[in-house]
Symmetry: C2
Subunit: 337 residues, 2 copies
Amino acid sequence: MEIYTIRDVARKAGVAVSTVSRVLNGRPDVSEETRKKVLDVVEQFGFVQNRNARNLKNTKPGYAAIIVRGRRNAFLNDVATQMIEFAQGHKTPFLVKYIDEEDDEFDAMRQLYAEKRAGSFILLGSRLDERCEAVRAVGVPVVFATVDAERAEFDNASSVCVDDRAAMRAMMDRILDQGHTRVAVFGGNRDGDDIFARRYQGAMDSLRAHGIEYDPDEYVLSRFSLEGGYESAVRFFEKHQDVTAVMTMSDMMAMGVTRALRDMGLRVPEDVSVSGFDGTVMARYYVPSIASVRQPVEEIARKSVELLCDMLEGGEARHVKVDYSLVEGESIAQVRA
Amino acid sequence: MEIYTIRDVARKAGVAVSTVSRVLNGRPDVSEETRKKVLDVVEQFGFVQNRNARNLKNTKPGYAAIIVRGRRNAFLNDVATQMIEFAQGHKTPFLVKYIDEEDDEFDAMRQLYAEKRAGSFILLGSRLDERCEAVRAVGVPVVFATVDAERAEFDNASSVCVDDRAAMRAMMDRILDQGHTRVAVFGGNRDGDDIFARRYQGAMDSLRAHGIEYDPDEYVLSRFSLEGGYESAVRFFEKHQDVTAVMTMSDMMAMGVTRALRDMGLRVPEDVSVSGFDGTVMARYYVPSIASVRQPVEEIARKSVELLCDMLEGGEARHVKVDYSLVEGESIAQVRA
DNA sequence: CTGAAAGCGCTTACAG
DNA sequence: CTGAAAGCGCTTACAG
């Protein structure tokens, strides 16, 4: 495999490297004739620019970077895709960086800033723990998407999310309205002040309002995956056959729970009702379709991009709540007799 | 956000940049004392290396790159993840590059070769069309995974896949053994000589062996997604109520079909049997669980890495078939009376 | 409109 | 064990 540099192209075309560079970057100050000559050689060589060299030179922060944590999360992926769409119209070019579940998005920010000239960021699915103080330190515009960063009070960070607490409460209301009184909640760590804690609080709000006492044993810490939901359900229902509904914090988890119940000979929703969270396509196609809290993918994406562009133009950090909606599903029914 | 270079680190630590570079790269020829001094400054600065500069210098092809086409394909993603696992043990470092469905993996190869010192490749989910002549041109070791490249006769390309034709035939046998005689097949383009064409042939092999005449109208070109399967099924069953089984070329498609059937008031498997392909986790968790052809993720991954390493050590290009297996599922049953 | 030159942040022989 | 210097492939003022 032959690798050509712009020097090779320049020599072959009989021009200077700077001229080739200009052509490659679509600069206007090149004669039509020269441009053509250069492009011919580029074509002929199958020349590909070395972006390492390019980025090394170009140091002014131009890009906005979308950092997505978790390659497998369909919901976050959808949001990222939408963001790119909305970003098309704006002057700032956007790039997407996927990082692993365990990676540090703040390291990723530094890396992107240093290497790719990314000077502003949208963080998708970030967690607001100690490390997020890094955001304050970096000082560049940041938008947290699907995370509420209001209380952290960053000067340079906006956020977009649904009201997780209210959403969860509404879903629990709907379950309780079907007569259920023993509802297990499967989700993430409920301590602290992140979205999982708020969702948990929302569930509690509803129970309290309905005058139902909640048995702490009926909260199950579970992984957000099919397997996680499955295993949690199997373990849980060994001891809690009297529970008639399971509310989860993710659609994947809900589907895992549903499959587990079925394998234990329980029907959903006749014997046990199940709810999810996110409003993913898969949940809609599942049988039974999973009742879920839909986060408005498109609006989260649009708002995030808007807020970032706003800050880039000197606007203040703002915190926006977008409307969730409850997705009807076949997975919830009247409590069994 | 402050960006430090190794010059800054060197100055602060009171050593030369070359020394800092050596420490950063874990070279042995640095005194313990100096190393410590440098690492302290690195820590203090939160220094991150600029990989652009690094890659720009390092030009000897070291990496093996795994190119995955399609970020959303759970199956390919699983294979890629496994490959990384297996690659750990080998001397060659591996890196993964995700490209869009529509991107050209051969362009990606050139790019990676030029920029990241990737001198050998595993192509996951590549299609073997005209563009693949590029593989011959590049000359570096390539492994096609989940694609049969035997007939293309590249000197420098191995391949790993299941026998798609036999697999599809086996699945069709199983369906026909349940008494079905009207089976629709939903899948990709059946012309040419790629895996879709072979799967189609496999289905035909079985029908022929069973003495069943196939109605060409009962082949449906469908997208490989939930939505694709759904729409195809709705359109198809408007006109073909007498069909009692649908064989598909992907689990996603099969789940879409199942949901569509249910929405049309048909039960799976009581009224219509459905089968998938790939053996994904989601299909196993679906209700009904989807009978599928499992491609052995782990073995495809292991074999691909092995074949590549083999070629890197001068071995010949080889073409390996790994064993598929039929996954039992609740989605297939005796034909309705 | 075009070219010669400096420099982006690293690594790697080459001296010492 | 350590440092000075060249150079990776580009871009971008600066001249002309």
